[in-house]
Structures are given as C-alpha cells and as structure tokens.
Symmetry: C2
Subunit: 130 residues, 2 copies
Amino acid sequence: MTIVIGYVPSPEGQAALARGLEEAKLRGGPVVVVNSSRGDALVDERFAQGEELALVRDVLRESGVAHEVRQPMRGLLASEELVEIAAEVDAELIVIGLRKRSPVGKLIMGSTAQRVLLDASCPVLAVKAD
Amino acid sequence: MTIVIGYVPSPEGQAALARGLEEAKLRGGPVVVVNSSRGDALVDERFAQGEELALVRDVLRESGVAHEVRQPMRGLLASEELVEIAAEVDAELIVIGLRKRSPVGKLIMGSTAQRVLLDASCPVLAVKAD
C-alpha cells in the first residue's frame, strides 16, 4: 500500500507532499518521497537541500506516517526515477504536483508530469497548489 | 466527499469506473459517473448506450456506493463537462482513464485527459487498464 510522492521545492511539490500524506493516512500505508535531480544538484533548484529538506522531514515526522526520503542521483530523468521507484516498491499510487493553467494559458503540460502519467503502471494522482 | 468518474466505453473507462468505486468506498462518499458526448450521440462511440449503459448501472448497483449517472449533451467538450460537474458537486477527486504508452510509443497524451488534468481545481486520478 506504498505511496510514492514526487517532491520538488515548489508550491506544487508541497501540495503533492500534503495530499500524498493524506492518502497514506487513509490507506494506512507508508510513503516514499522522491526528490530527484539529473546530474549536478548544486545547480538544480528542483533538488531540495539544507533547510528545505529539513522542513520536508519535519512534515513527514509530524504526519506520523511511515516514510522514507530518496534523492537518487543516477542520471535518470525525474520521471524515470519516479516510475522506477514506484515499480520497485510496488506502489499503489504516485502523487505528483501540477501547475495550474492560467485563464489564458495554453494547453501545455510539463514533460515530467506527462511522462509519469503515461509511463507509470500504477495510478497517478495529480494535485495542484492552492 | 464526492468522486467524479469520467466514463467512456473502453478498457480505460472501465478501469476508471472500477478504481473510482474503490476510492469512494475508502472515503465513504458517493460517485457521479459522467459520460458525455459532444453533439450527436448516435455517431459518437464514446457515448454509452443500451447494454453498455445497463452494465455500468449494474456495476454501480452492485458496488453499494451511492451513485448518479450523467450523460450531458449540452455541446461542451468532455473535459469541460467533467471539470464543470466536479466544481458543481464540489468533488474531492476526478478519476479518468488513460491509455498506456506502447514501448516505442510517442509522448502524446489525449487532449481530453490533458485538459482535465490542467483545468480541474480538484486532484485528478489517472488510471490505466490492466
């Protein structure tokens, strides 16, 4: 009943983390939080570090949900990491954050989200920031 | 705690229906099954009719979940119907089916799915057929 959460330091990443924890409580299972960077973490702002990462760990600890944080750096796309880890832990759900489309926004979804949605063998829950 | 399910007569539609009902049982809420057609139902194979629709109603009845089936025909896109109905019933979740990408498949998501994912204000759960 494991839930895999795709986390990046952004409002969408926070929303995915919060909703992923709610779903885990509902199902009584653990979460695996995946924050991946392709290559050099020092220049990748999607890679959580220092205080940001400490905050994530605080949220996880306070939730009371069994958890694990993974920051893989094996050169895969973030989408590939999520899909592979979900398969590895036999996840029942992947939770990702999505940006809202503005009222005049074009119909364009980020390629990471699209890849996860298309390639994951388990269901994918897409949430937006408030 | 209402869950809105996007249903079309296909393996993906069946998967969305099945998973939507599971989620409804987990949360103890009702489901609204939306099967929409833009325009002429007689020539739109996504519009469930006759036996197909009777089967859906059987599955719903056997689930024990409080439910409602809507087949709006007001000329909106299927994605618009889903998003609007979800807002109307204050849904906590929309469940849609997605086609699998073949091993050599291109990265292309159907525009209905993309629109629902980008435009819904509630979380969207995307499931694939087995």
